[in-house]
Symmetry: D2
Subunit: 137 residues, 4 copies
């Protein structure tokens, strides 16, 4: 069985991302990971805006477990990856990594709940989105 | 004529506010100034949420002219001030300053438009809010 | 045995903290938690700057496990708490919570490494800082 | 005389950039503009890191005059432009714009001081950087 590579989104570290310790501020890795998730859904053919418009579904992060292994620095060119590691009826668990030249700097497990946008309650992942995820794995 | 002191809001510089140059990142002074405006309205007796609820009015910044004179640094205790310098029917111009121990670090002139929240169009400043501003000058 | 309350730092949610979903952006809870840690050390008598100056020690976050239970919203008055739950020679594990009117909104376990500032290597927690932590528990 | 187009850097609006009013938070346009300046220098062949390494020069923003004309929103694809409008011995004035589909949303004039990195004092713009700017106008 051939398994696809995780989705990969390139990033550049600007001054806004760093702090006085000379490294990327720890909360900002979560921003990088969210950018990668957004681009991943768009690459699957289901941008967030379309998921909301067609299915009245939004995603919220309910849990993050993140290890900070090595610091990223100003001007670094990074990659942020996204990979589905578990899936429930209304829940996605993603493995995400920020790396520089294939060296992992942070590694996270991010749990997302799929919500009905109007009732703000858990709701099934839209079937076409699930199908798109399966086709790339 | 006795003129009141400008409104003053105390701030602390945390890592999140700084960048790899070891100083507060330039965009973050605008955050500090917005915190001070929010607390100023609350101190006048008209918190933003109440202005919106009672008058359907919101404020948007339409123009900022800001000079960065000296850098603020990690752990600095700062003050952000607010002073009305001009007022139109649906417009406020504020002088704002960020200082450390009375030394000005940044100085801005901030123009706000008062909008009707539903039509997103210029709308008169609520009279009770104007009265509250005049009482403190 | 009487056990002290966790350290508590009050916070206000401003526009800068929120996102287009109308709630606090998930990464920003980590900013709130870091502000609380900074103020907690200062309240113990050991502000970060002094720890660095006297002992050449800095803290870096190496791991965060955070659950997002309920959203915080614009203008909310929140509390961020800090409590030591585990301690190694050069490592601290903190329980941190963001709550509104005693209702927990996010709950995290944050692991910090104590590093020698010059060699950027794990280094023992300064004894006076450990003593100060023990006195408040 | 043929005049070159301003440098143009593409951007996407993510949740991190927006606020509870549903639009891009005003301070974040300054982040977008700084990203564009960084990429502009890199495109000229003089990335910030190289300017600092070879000439011991850094840039700091000393003044911004910015008008917020129309709001940008979640998922917008934007362009940020950079154009030199004035130049002194140790000073650059840039016109910068954020636009969506050629409609300007914010427009700024940004003044940068060129500093000697060690003495943190105004210092001449490096001649090769000036030459690179002139070649593109």
């Amino acid at each position: 069985m051939i398994r696809a590579q995780p989705f990969r989104h390139p990033l550049t570290v600007y001054y806004e991302d760093t702090d006085a310790a000379g490294v990327v501020y720890y909360a900002n890795y979560l921003k990088f990971m969210e950018r990668a998730r957004t681009e991943w859904l768009a690459a699957l053919g289901w941008p967030l805006a379309q998921v909301e418009r067609e299915f009245s579904r939004v995603f919220v992060v309910t849990h993050v477990d993140i290890a900070f292994l090595h610091p990223a620095r100003l001007n670094d060119r990074l990659d942020a990856t996204v990979e589905v590691v578990d899936r429930g009826a209304s829940r996605l668990v993603l493995a995400q990594e920020i790396s520089r030249a294939d060296r992992p700097l942070t590694r996270a497990r991010v749990t997302l709940a799929c919500l009905d946008r109007d009732r703000w309650r858990p709701a099934r992942l839209p079937a076409p989105l699930v199908a798109a995820m399966e086709n790339t794995q």
